[in-house]
């Protein structure tokens, strides 16, 4: 009898716990719903619609005809001659794809080469002044991308500050044609995205224990060796995070190549836009967007993998 009562009580308790737990879950779901609805309407949902559109036929004046077709995906990689229907590799698309990957990779490298010493410099300042330097990096990070690109445009123009300066000191006789070249895009993207490299590397360095460096020197390691064997391996997560944060927006860059590339040096973002404007080929634009997204996802998976590996390496 007594035993039964305790059992019943226990059962009630677990029931109560279960009820409370379910209530919390319900509360959590209710709380997140509005955000998820907005994100579904204006972020994930549109991607699904775009996936659908990549399998439709282009309309005559933009838009689509509701006829299924895999032509768009075919066109991403192959080109059909309009006169004799011979199929060849779509050189134009692939060269733009290659340029996007190449420029993004170079941007990432350049950001690292400049950003790592800068992050190191900030992290080795006394604690009071560190915030000031950090602030100097944060300001450009939060200022308008368009304005910063426009600022780069102004200084690399033929009559811009750089050319005027170089002409004045007599290094060059005629202005350098920097604008509307790949170099211009590279410089612009590096300028725009470098805070995204500095900040995560700084975050890693801030936690870095400099006594390890001291130990390295005690064991007669050279500076280069300390850098290569102690500092870089330990801040690797920050370097990887910074690289991915620079690489991904560079790959999808639209504003910078449009302004600094002058419409002839296209990147993937501009090629996509073209399909929705003059190209009037929405399905191809959709397929190209999804191709870009796929590359980004591959980069992200690579990032997660190497972050895990770096994390595991630290434990062992």
């Amino acid at each position: 009898m007594d035993k039964d009562a305790t059992q019943a009580e226990e059962k009630q308790n677990t029931n109560l716990e279960e009820v409370v737990r379910q209530q919390t879950v319900r509360r959590n779901i209710l709380l997140t719903t509005p955000a998820l609805v907005v994100l579904f309407i204006a972020a994930s949902g549109p991607l699904l619609v775009m996936f659908l559109f990549s399998f439709l036929t282009p309309g005559d004046y933009g838009g689509v005809k509701w006829e299924a077709s895999t032509q768009a995906w075919f066109q991403v990689f192959f080109h059909t001659d309009i006169f004799d229907d011979t199929v060849s590799i779509a050189d134009a698309h692939l060269s733009i794809l290659w340029r996007s990957v190449k420029l993004s990779g170079l941007t990432t490298i350049l950001c690292f080469v400049l950003g790592f010493p800068t992050a190191y410099f900030i992290a080795t300042r006394p604690a009071e002044s560190r915030n000031f330097w950090l602030f100097l990096v944060t300001i450009p990070f939060w200022t308008n991308l368009l304005i910063r690109t426009f600022a780069v445009l102004e200084i690399i123009r033929n009559a811009g500050v750089i050319n005027s300066f170089l002409l004045a000191i007599g290094v060059i006789d005629a202005p350098l044609d920097m604008l509307y070249t790949d170099t211009a895009i590279l410089l612009g993207m590096t300028y725009v995205y470098i805070p995204l490299m500095i900040l995560p590397i700084y975050a890693s360095l801030e936690r870095f224990d400099f006594r390890l460096v001291e130990a390295g020197y005690d064991l007669y390691a050279s500076r280069l060796k300390v850098l290569k064997r102690i500092i870089v391996p330990l801040i690797k997560p920050g370097v990887i995070a910074g690289s991915i944060l620079v690489f991904i927006p560079s790959l999808g860059a639209y504003v910078t190549p449009r302004i600094l590339g002058g419409g002839k040096n296209l990147m993937l973002g501009n090629l996509i836009e073209l399909q929705f404007g003059q190209g009037r080929n929405w399905p191809l634009g959709a397929a190209l967007s999804l191709t870009l997204l796929a590359i980004v996802m591959i980069a992200l998976i690579f990032y997660v993998r190497s972050a895990q590996r770096a994390g595991a390496g630290k434990d062992s």
Partner: protein, 284 residues
Amino acid sequence: MYAVRSGPVLVKIANMMFKQKFSVTRMPGFSVVAMICFFALYMPLAPLVIYSFNEGNNIALWEGFSLRWYGSAWENELVQGAAIRSLIIASFASVFATIFATMAALGTTRTKPYRGQMTIYAMINQPLMVPEIVTAVALLILFALIKQATNYHGFAYLIIAHTAFCIPFAYLPIKARLEGMDNTLEIAAADLYARPFKTFRRITLPLLLPGIFAGAMLAFVISLDDVVITEFVKSAGQDTLPTYMLGQLRRAITPEINAISTVLLGVSVLLVTLIFFMSRKRGN
């Protein structure tokens, strides 16, 4: 001979210098690169600001100080309209995004892991991971369908698009703030028979406020600065300041653009400075 004798002395001097100068953290050349980097970050902005005060029509030829271009931008109806539109959209988007992000942060932080939580994280962070141009054309496609079906061409599209990409920016600081709070005060309030809503209003919300404020301001800046998504979502005559500027860049550039840029730059710097000092105070 001389070299041999002076050898030990040199070593001694070197040792003295070494002891004084040697710093564990020093890396030769790094400070130089850092200085170049800081210089390069700010140098391009200088001509932009300086030429906004130029008297003449040129953005490269200095003809004396004047506020002429600020006046002309102020009186330009297109700029006025774009500025008002930018402010309206940024206000609505940041308010909505902050409210939704606060709720979402409350629903995902300080709670036992539950099924679907990873999906929720993935959805909230999606705008940070998917390139803007991809979201932009996807929105163009979806909204073109809706525009065709409903014939509605108003602001709502821009506001909802901006709200969506502002959510993660508002969410992250609020979540960080929540994670740093323990729930002892809330439990105490509940022990004293405060109803859940009252506990929230009198305890959780005031403690969370700095995070909410930082999130709202970040969302506002992000919305104000957006070019790509706005460019693809806007209907005719719905230019915001950034898309207006992007359109102007195709034409002959006058210092008016510099003037608008300088004002926008000022607003961003002001807001970021505010956030920065607020978060520092919080840290102390």
